[in-house]
């Protein structure tokens, strides 16, 4: 039986539909252009906003590091709970919600697909066990490769082909979706308590620089024709004056051709990489300099990494950064050096409105979104939970859509935002079409999933969000209402089924796990496997046979072949 | 003659091995119903390897076999492997961590010639089924 979403106001930027009254037809979980209307269920969504389901491109929602963050902070869990109902499981956690709850909360906001931001290959099984417990969404994992010993060795030897064969083998072994690079070289240096503070700092003992790692991996990524581009967390996150490192980093892939209709590099949570100043007293926004480069570039996009002015749990595979941050705050600190691969860290942080730094960080995220002209180049994230929890997305949407809301917040935060950021001078207000780009269409395109996600044309998965907003009567000054409506959908539809109605979960479903299988030359693959076998035995602490994650750990596995 | 010492409990390789073979076998009693003493302490009250001894705390007393520690010196400290014997004399947690004090228990050690070391099964029967020291069955 089909379904007709009748009389909604549709925002489908990928198909150039900008707020038209239009019916959406659904059959067998996908969107179709024809349907037997007599047998179809009709759902009246008159004068409500209809968008493709939201796509999360960067959220620390599952895996070992996230779980260490949960275990570290009972105080984050006590005050924010969901009791069990007849159909849903219980849960807890504000900045690090438990898995079931994560699925429910995303679904209530109309999100239907999500990428967990950092899978360390050795811990891949853990990430997938948690993803299995996140219902309501299709999901995948960005896979950490920027400090991997095999990768660094192949790239040092200039062997792009072998490196590509290794990356292909690894992504398939751990059922990863994309290549993620975090503080290239720096996280390996952290194995000795050191860091790479510029793109030319040599990685101790590996005779390679961050620049060479980034350049090599971009080439590898495009040679493998992976659906997503390299997803890069540059060196120097959170450091004073780091915008210069970011600018240098953005020049690295210069000239590399993308294998698909997308960017060659996504610089992630760019807010944390857009800082000027040489002391906390002179700390200032350099979002304008970054936005300027993005505006001129056809190859690079960013996601924002908004700061939402909350108490949160920071977590990243950038181990030295977390040590540095915990040194500033003197708060508890977790580190997890993972053999041959990476070194994540965790520490709580309070982005207080009273703090000049936090206030400016809040402004920087908004500046990036308001100064970058093309919304397809700026995707909405908080780097959950680093800049703030994902449940604040509706509030960010309200900030972007309402200058009045920004003015109100500016009056509440530290006055430093007036001098050391330009956000008070910006009057741009996002419209609903632009919101649809930065929360779903842009993400789907960046991930190379635009054939099935992020749009409402025939053939797309029937993942849909309906918000109780009448565009004809939308007043951006009513920002509280905007926030409330985006927090609770009128309907969330997953694979053609209504799973949320009026902000309540009405059906619990399992999503797919997306992973990549990239083709490489079988001869080279054979050589590389030999090399893996030899070195694995010597340097890993488990046997190679026990490393790969089998499909039984995945829900509804969906292989993306190249 | 008695000796006042500090008791610690924990895993031993023999206890682990025997436990996996079956707690109803003699091996388990041999591995866990023992008290490892420093040779100097043994001399003080004239205990020899293999003697039955009575170990008592405010909670209760238990009969185990004395063995000379291979992991000495640790004068003033005795060790009994984790198991039902030692736990019949350990106390409940009192510091809001959920953790019972399994190490650092003040105990009294005495000779107990002629006393029998019970098997795990018989010990549990005696303590929790047939009757505790007050003469009443718990169940």
């Amino acid at each position: 039986m089909g379904m007709i979403l009748k009389n909604g106001i549709v925002f489908d930027p990928m198909n150039n539909v900008k707020g038209e009254k239009k019916d959406i037809l659904i059959e067998n979980g996908v969107i179709v252009d024809k349907l037997n209307e007599r047998t179809a269920r009709v759902v009246d969504v008159s004068n409500k906003v209809v968008m493709p389901g939201g796509v999360e491109i960067h959220s620390h929602m599952a895996g070992g590091k996230v779980n260490s963050g949960r275990a570290l902070r009972p105080e984050d869990h006590r005050g924010f709970v969901m009791p069990k109902t007849d159909i849903t499981r219980s849960g807890s956690g504000f900045s690090t919600p438990t898995t079931f709850m994560t699925g429910y909360l995303y679904s209530k906001m109309g999100y239907t697909t999500g990428m967990t931001a950092a899978l360390p290959p050795l811990m891949g099984r853990h990430t997938h066990e948690e993803l299995k417990d996140i219902p309501m969404m299709d999901k995948g994992a960005l896979t950490l490769l920027g400090n991997n010993w095999f990768v660094m060795r192949y790239l040092k030897e200039g062997d792009i082909e072998k490196c590509a064969a290794y990356v292909s083998w690894l992504l398939n072994a751990v059922k990863g979706y994309a290549v993620k690079i975090v503080n290239p070289g720096g996280s390996e240096a952290w194995g000795w308590g050191k860091n790479c503070r510029s793109i030319d700092d040599p990685v101790p003992h590996f005779d390679i620089t961050p620049q060479e790692i980034i350049k090599g991996m971009v080439e590898v990524n495009e040679r493998l024709c992976l659906p997503h581009s390299v997803h890069l967390h540059p060196n120097n996150l959170g450091r004073l004056g780091n915008f210069e490192t970011t600018l240098q980093t953005m020049k690295i892939p210069n000239g590399t051709k993308a294998a698909g209709d997308r960017q060659v590099l996504q610089v992630t949570h760019t807010q944390f990489h857009s800082y000027g100043g040489d002391s906390w007293k002179t700390f200032e926004s350099k979002a304008d300099a970054i936005a300027d480069v993005i505006n001129k570039s056809d190859d690079i996009i960013i996601d924002t990494g908004f700061v939402t002015l909350d108490e949160t749990t920071t977590m990243t595979a950038d181990g030295p950064m977390e040590f540095y941050l915990s040194g500033l705050t003197r708060l508890k600190w977790v580190n997890r050096n993972i053999e041959l691969e990476t070194s994540p860290g965790i520490t709580p942080f309070v982005f207080s409105k009273k703090m000049p730094t936090a206030s400016i960080q809040w402004a920087i995220g908004l500046e990036l979104a308001l100064l970058i002209e093309d919304p397809w180049k700026v995707l909405l994230t908080t780097d959950h939970p680093n800049g703030g929890p994902f449940i604040r997305y509706p509030r960010i949407i309200a900030w972007l859509m309402s200058e009045k809301y920004r003015e109100k917040t500016i009056s509440e935060v530290h006055k430093a935002v007036n001098k050391r950021s330009v956000v008070p001078t910006l009057d741009r207000e996002y419209d609903l079409n632009e919101i649809a780009v930065i929360t779903r269409a842009g993400q789907a395109k960046s991930l190379g999933l635009d054939h099935i996600k992020g749009h409402l044309g025939p053939g797309a998965h029937a993942d849909i969000a309906v918000y109780d907003i009448d565009p004809a009567n939308l007043n951006p000054n009513n920002y509280a209402e905007i926030e409330e409506k985006f927090a609770n959908t009128a309907y969330t539809i997953k694979d053609g089924e209504i799973v949320v109605k009026d902000g309540e979960i009405v059906k619990v479903v399992d999503g797919r796990t997306l992973f990549v299988n990239a083709k490489v030359d079988p001869g080279i693959e054979k050589d590389v496997i030999k090399d893996i076998e030899y070195n694995f035995k010597r340097f890993y602490s488990i046997n190679l046979a026990n490393y790969p994650v089998r499909k039984e750990y995945l829900t509804r596995p969906m292989e993306i072949r190249t | 003659m008695s000796l006042e010492v500090t008791l610690i409990t924990g895993r031993t390789v023999s206890q682990g091995e025997a436990m996996e073979r079956g707690k109803d076998l003699d091996d388990y009693t041999k591995a866990a119903a023992v008290c490892e003493l420093d040779p100097a302490d043994m001399e003080k009250i004239g205990i020899n390897e293999g003697d039955t001894i009575k170990v008592s705390t405010g909670i209760g007393e238990v009969i185990v076999r004395a063995v000379k520690s291979r992991q000495y010196p640790h004068e003033g400290i005795v060790f009994i492997p984790m198991g039902p014997w030692v736990n019949s004399i350990t106390d409940m947690p009192a510091d809001s961590t959920g953790m019972p004090p399994f190490k650092g228990i003040p105990v009294k050690i005495e000779q107990a010639k002629g006393e029998k070391v019970l098997s795990s099964h018989d010990l549990i029967e005696k303590l929790y089924l047939r009757g505790n020291e007050k003469g009443e069955g718990v169940r």
Binding site: L72 | G16, K23, H74, M92, S120
Partner: protein
């Protein structure tokens, strides 16, 4: 799977389901569904595999009738479990450390359904470590990172030669690593303990700490490492000179790892000892690279902590009585629930609290209806109302477990379980279903009664 010389088949890359070291290089020779030989395992691990042939395992569920056990069929046993648990107002679901995560999933759902308290053996093991971590954090590393980098290994209050027999040879002291090509020769081993343990006998340096004064010694080391003058001539039985030397050694190594065990968690001070140990390691990171690793005991005690955390938000001692997860060690921990005589029923799985809990807790367990699920007739089963024998996870069932450093591994199935024996997962699923059916029936009855009025 290779063909073994002479007889049977050989299963390779087998993960050992005994301790938190989770060695994954075992080779097991199987013939006619019997384990003939085990290679690479330690004494305890071998014993676990080889005992399979000799063990007289109960093969039918049992229910206590008039004081003694009677064999029953599975349906009757499940029915009795459902009856006991559904009647209970505050059931305690305890154990979980010697079974796979797949069983944890069902167990947590059952605890949530019942509104009960679920706790693991962490409670009497590294529970204090968890509490300390929640206070100060946990700068840690995987065991392979230690193997490749560490030139200084410290075991403090841990005796791996007994509790984790292959720990030194696989990960810490003896193996060659990427930056430690000569293995043991490239490393120094320091052991801190109250006894000169079998591990201490292997050490380059043994530090004998006075019982109950670990906190003092750790604090003295922090003092020195942070550049302060140590005024005492001796702390915790260790001379000032030795403390200064120890501190210097820690500060000047290239990469150090502090492994700690029950000697800290179960001794006077409990979580405060761990707090001091973690803080020491954090301080050391201002001078060099240092990590700390808890020597987790049971093979999957880490796993139950991980699963509980991602499903409820808390690593142990979770109370569902309000419909959502709550956690408060000292209140929701197993021994406290028993000490206050709150629990009115218990389900024990993959552990043996009657052998390993203090007397008063066992007395309460003996008073309330108790269900035991596990492969062996253990002391806890001896005091139970219902005992359901189960297959052995990691030998007779494939399952998932987490190593002490949270590396997740897939345990293999080596042989078939005996006929008629179900897995922990299957048994728990049957109980959950029974409990749910009872709840539905109860709701229907209440509805009818309401209509009648």
């Amino acid at each position: 799977m290779k063909k073994a010389k002479g007889y049977g088949r050989m299963v390779t890359d087998v993960v050992c389901p005994f301790c938190g070291t989770l060695c994954d290089d075992l080779e097991v020779v199987v013939e006619d569904n019997k384990i003939k030989n085990v290679r690479h395992a330690c004494r305890i691990g071998s014993s676990k595999f080889l005992a399979m042939n000799e063990l007289k395992r109960p093969n039918r569920p049992m229910i206590r009738k008039d004081g003694s056990f009677e064999e029953v069929d599975m349906a009757a046993a499940i029915e009795e479990c459902g009856r006991i648990l559904s009647r209970s107002k505050r059931p305690l679901l305890y154990g979980w450390s010697s079974t796979g995560c797949e069983a944890h999933f069902v167990g947590i759902e059952l605890a949530e359904e019942l509104g009960g308290v679920i706790d693991s053996t962490s409670s009497v093991c590294h529970g204090p470590s968890v509490i300390a971590i929640q206070d100060v954090g946990y700068p840690s590393a995987t065991l392979g990172d230690v193997k490749n980098r560490a030139d200084l290994i410290i075991y403090w209050g841990a005796n791996p030669m007994h509790a984790h027999p292959r720990h030194l040879s696989r990960y810490s002291v003896f193996p060659r690593g990427y930056f430690r090509e000569r293995g043991q020769q490239d490393r120094e081993l320091i052991v801190v303990d109250v006894r000169k343990t079998d591990t201490a006998k292997l050490a380059n340096r043994f530090v004998q700490v006075r019982y109950g004064e670990d906190f003092e010694l750790l604090s003295a080391l922090r003092l020195v490492i942070n550049g302060k003058e140590l005024e005492a001539d001796e702390v915790a039985g260790v001379s000032k000179e030795d403390i200064l030397e120890l501190a210097d050694r820690m500060k000047t190594c290239q990469y150090g790892t502090l492994f700690f065990g029950m000697g800290l968690t179960q001794s006077y001070g409990t979580h405060r000892n761990i707090d001091a140990g973690i803080s020491l390691v954090r301080d050391l990171n201002h001078h060099t690279k240092f990590s700390i690793v808890a020597m987790r005991g049971h093979y999957n005690v880490t796993g139950i902590g991980e699963v509980l955390t991602w499903q409820t938000g808390y690593p142990f001692a979770v109370d569902f009585s309000r419909g959502y997860p709550r956690y408060n060690p000292g209140e929701t921990t197993a021994n406290d629930v028993l000490q206050r005589e709150e629990a009115d029923a218990a389900l024990i799985i993959a552990s043996d609290p009657v052998a390993h809990f203090p007397k008063k807790a066992v007395e309460h367990l003996a008073r309330i209806p108790m269900i035991t699920i596990g492969p062996h007739m253990i002391p806890t089963a001896q005091l139970s109302e219902v005992f359901i024998p189960s297959s052995i996870s990691g030998i007779e069932e494939a399952s998932t477990a987490y190593r002490m450093d949270t590396v997740p591994l897939k345990l293999r199935k080596v042989i078939e379980p005996p006929e008629g024996i179900y897995s922990d997962v299957e048994i728990l699923e049957m109980i959950l279903e029974n409990v749910r059916e009872r709840r539905v029936r109860q709701m229907e009855r209440e509805k009818k009664a309401g209509e009648g009025r």
